[in-house]
Amino acid sequence: MLESLTGAVELGLLYALMAIGVYITFRILDFPDLTVDASFTTGGAVAAVMISNGGSPLLATICAFGCGLAAGAVTGLLHTKGKVNGLLAGILMMIALYSVNMRIMGKPNISLVNTDTLFTSIEGNTVLYLLVLAIVVIMVKLLLDAFLHTDLGLALRATGDNARMIRSLGANTDTTKIIGVSLSNGLVAVSGAMIAQQSGFADMSMGVGTIVLGLASVIIGEAIFGIRSVVRATLAVILGSIVYRIIVALALRVEFLDTSDLKLITAVIVVGALVIPTVRRSMKQKSVARRRTQELIAAAGSQGGRS
């Protein structure tokens, strides 16, 4: 049990950067970007190819980041300059990247077993390992928090919040969107690179469903930990990623569920997390409206309503 718990925390931290990436597009830019399904694999592929050819794991991870940035920038360009619908732009890039990923890897999967990765030196000590992962993720979070409070970061946030207003204040919303989508995919690719190094292989299908995993983490995190500020929201996303992994680990302990049911479980979690708050909100609104109306009627009545 403890082992599956530490395993869940480990995966949660590794996927947290991907979840933060999805948070940037989905929540900040209000742009559901499906590119991540492929750019996650791109990150894993670039890292695996470089490391298996004797490259430095750190350099490989940085290159994965760069490739993710580039992939996101193309999606952003398609959407803003090419005026392609956001969902379609993501899907097109996802398809195109599939071929690119195949070219990068040259074969459907690459093994990193018996190769030095970022984690080789600390893998033996679970506590140290988790601590280092947590510190890396927190540092990325703090950097992102800082960025989102700079002038450029404010413009990026306003782009998703009120694009017309920030344009009237002189920001080019095409540029801010491209920056946001690009940064998002960069983080997703880093996450892919880390997963490839942790699991010891990269394969063509490792990114399938990334967008849904990311959404699950974002939504769970927001529901449990709140989104009062940007600093709070990014923390919520990281914790959401961990909680999601714990939920999955628990679900897999149920007798009749199989590993292949994972995607269904994820979809159910996302649907639940999306639908339940909506239903609760509308029920609450109705009851408040009813109560207020009755109060107002009572108040009017006590003043001696004339007929």
Binding site: F147, H149, T150, D151, L152, G153, L154, A155, R157, A158, D161, N162, R164, M165, I166, R167, S168, L169, G170, A171, N172, T173
Partner: protein, 264 residues
Amino acid sequence: MLDISQVSKLFNPGTPDEKIALMNIQLKLEPGDFVTVIGSNGAGKSTLMNIISGVMKPDIGEVRIGGKAIHHLPEHMRSRWIGRVFQDPMAGTAPTMSIEENLSMAYKRGKARGFGWGANAAKRKLFREQLSRLGIRLEDRMSAKVGLLSGGERQALSLLMATFTQPQILLLDEHTAALDPARAELITDLTEEIVRDMSLTTLMVTHNMEQAIRLGNRLIMMDKGRIILDIPESRKRDLTVPQLLGEFERISGRQLADDRIVLG
């Protein structure tokens, strides 16, 4: 300061819905002019605002600010000269961001946005001073999200955001129309005060006839994409609402029709 010459704009050209939105508009504002704009539905008032701010581009004609031709520039590149308040109180502010963050974005109007902090101690001090001018105690709620403010408060903040960097042109597009009378009054008073104190060159579209006469030093009336009447300060002082409506009927041959018209 603002020089609009020969501007025309056609909507849906070449289709059955083709409509002349603006027809050969000539308008010149001197520095410090405060011009009110009235007109019937579809007269082209909002189109004129959109052409000046760059949301739309004219089919023919030129727009110059301080002698510089700007009609070919996109909206975000014109913002350094133009401050604008929209009719919809939701349009001028970002709801999930704080008052301070909204002001920080306005502070950077038309300047390059980089990795400098959006709000620092010096800027906060400036924002606090500016907010206190509004007299609605927003300076005590600088970290509150703008989405929590009332429509009137949001519009007051929008007005401040549009003006405190002293743009060369201020565009007000029926900015009190969506507010209840008491709040509309507050925003009108604030507008008058800010425009006077900063001697901003202002173009204000309004549906309120009394306001159009009382505010500003010049009044123009639009109909069917044209400016049909241009009343200078000397005549405007003694003008009454019935006279103004009479003028409209005399020139256009019909009554002034506007869903939201307020006579005063």
